[in-house]
Symmetry: D2
Subunit: 226 residues, 4 copies
Amino acid sequence: MAGRLAGKRVLVTQADDYMGPPTLEIFRAEGAEVIADRSDLTAPEAAQNAVDEAGPIDVLVANLAAYNQAGRKLDTVDDATFAEMFEVMVYPLHRLVRAVAPQMTERQAGKIVVYGSASPLRGIPFLAAYSSARGAQVGYVRSMGTELAPHNIQINLIAQNWVESDTYFPPAVREHPKFIARMQAQVPAGRLAKPEEDVALAVFLASDESDYFVGQCIPFSGGWVQ
Amino acid sequence: MAGRLAGKRVLVTQADDYMGPPTLEIFRAEGAEVIADRSDLTAPEAAQNAVDEAGPIDVLVANLAAYNQAGRKLDTVDDATFAEMFEVMVYPLHRLVRAVAPQMTERQAGKIVVYGSASPLRGIPFLAAYSSARGAQVGYVRSMGTELAPHNIQINLIAQNWVESDTYFPPAVREHPKFIARMQAQVPAGRLAKPEEDVALAVFLASDESDYFVGQCIPFSGGWVQ
Amino acid sequence: MAGRLAGKRVLVTQADDYMGPPTLEIFRAEGAEVIADRSDLTAPEAAQNAVDEAGPIDVLVANLAAYNQAGRKLDTVDDATFAEMFEVMVYPLHRLVRAVAPQMTERQAGKIVVYGSASPLRGIPFLAAYSSARGAQVGYVRSMGTELAPHNIQINLIAQNWVESDTYFPPAVREHPKFIARMQAQVPAGRLAKPEEDVALAVFLASDESDYFVGQCIPFSGGWVQ
Amino acid sequence: MAGRLAGKRVLVTQADDYMGPPTLEIFRAEGAEVIADRSDLTAPEAAQNAVDEAGPIDVLVANLAAYNQAGRKLDTVDDATFAEMFEVMVYPLHRLVRAVAPQMTERQAGKIVVYGSASPLRGIPFLAAYSSARGAQVGYVRSMGTELAPHNIQINLIAQNWVESDTYFPPAVREHPKFIARMQAQVPAGRLAKPEEDVALAVFLASDESDYFVGQCIPFSGGWVQ
């Protein structure tokens, strides 16, 4: 089987974190040649270096994740904690897009898939710094989607929540009866998503099937946001 | 190749209209066994009959389209014209879902894909009857998505606009310079969608890849709605 | 005190139901001359008659409420029950707007405030018929808002939920510990809204303060929808 | 006349910029005691100092505006330009809220009104840095709204666009025929908003009339976003 991403060169950032490992596995199974970047993207030149080293890439998967800030009350979120969210998840997004857009513009083709969050679409208490940075990604993708569309470059965002991931829902949390009860009360699907279900949406957004998606933030949350 | 819908029995309504023909072709190419219903679903028993005749079905594609009402000013939309939109696009949706839900509930598995419209998400003048009926579909899908999710039945809606279709944008319209200029001013993608691009989203929503989508209305409009 | 609606003639429909009584009281206290219509608007000519009898009106408050359908499972919603939602809440909305638009267009000024629901914005199970009809109002208001704006007529909708009303949350319900617990888990405000808080938004949308609001559906739900 | 903000002490930031001047004038006319802060809020301690100097305040109006970044193509937005948007519009928002929340929590009452933007809700090309920072405000307000609601503190955001302001639409721009044509094609209201119309929404959100609004981002854009 050729696979839905056959012939695509794909750069995946923070390859060991968050959605990185399942993305690598599934994108490769779909025929993509995946370049896994593991550099610390908070360094100002890191994004440009990652793109330069990758060479020609058809798809950028912007996988940017800070440690979860859930449970941080307003008065405990100092300036450094707040700014870190943006330094990890927002500034590198801009640098990555800026680095990769010229080659995609030259080829008049490209896809950028952002693993984002549903949290800026529906308020969660004690999560303001994180939700704010994820909201910055939403505003960025909508604007940049409109800007890049005429060059046949599509940037879209997966607004996810409730995905089984050790970064955000470690086993000890997700097996806790109180967590399960709260999740079932809030998530119409009644369960966490398996990482491969999330990556299936990323495959769709990375493939030629989604050329008419422009700057969209697609909820992926079991109906928590519709 | 097995195809992404291999082994699925799919019922497609209004098979000769709107998204019917490309859906039949592409779903079959993806391995589905497609039952094409061509009955007039405004008759009260028609939906139940269509489902009964189809037998066991894994996927219902609710393809319900009235003639476009674009260009109808408020004062020209009489009661019959207004009600017709609901009799064609809304009441049959409920009857189809009600007819198909029992067998899906029994199997604890099923997909319902609704070809809807982006018009209730962003106002278009001179289209109130149509937008209102399409908005009814949105409200229906969100509620029913939540209700059916615990039975592992997913109902989702494609909120489309600017899809090349002879029903809504006949060739004479879509080749008209004024239409092209207006479309390019409004649609970030700068072009109409090809029907097969729209069906690609329907394939995604009909397949096992989208089990975590619950009651969603996904814009498909080249960035016109994001 | 002159009041924020001084000199406005306001037609309020279904004046004894739902948001009718508090609207009459508060709009009058704000200086409006309120015409209370109590006719059954499901009769085809009733809307036109109500408008004709009211004479010149600056503001139409479309207060249209069916008995709540909460708790109705899909298989119990027969065709008549489903259609009734539209005959009570949707068809009369169109007839009222069609009846009142000519005089407002002639004066190049007017306001239409629709008491709608947040339910089509966020799925509630066992409420599909109701949510669907309320969703039809949303699609109608967005389209018609855009159509009427050039005539300086503003139509907007209050997408409400969790408002203390005997129609939807009778005392026996709202004092029940299980209801209170469920409400507090779901509503960030942690309480039901008092009817007068809801009417305060209607006053804003009926007054000259909201001339730049066009076809909007404003959530009013204590943060349940944001 | 007592005014709708009688007895309220209100802190308005960046009082000479953006929505500052009309807010001062109209809030005072509505009976508020307005404290106008003119300090540079990019300094880390400035927000806390402004709140400390203001003393007890019932309402915070977070008026934070960077020079408009419209017309900046992706490749011209360097890291410093990008970060500046956040340093001016996002980090100070968090610092202001953190500084003012303790006294509001103690009184179990307070309002925070954010003059934000509709740009993160609908993509505008060549505006990614600005839209991203405004999107950060949206994510922040939704989360923080939910967090503060139990203390009877309401934070909401005005998602505005097309408001007549010298900061964003200087006279030379707004009188230009090409601008007028583009605006009329995009804005259903067919005109810019007068600043006082925008402030009328801020009055509503600052007053006791809006106690049931929690973390909302209300479009104010003449129907450009609905």
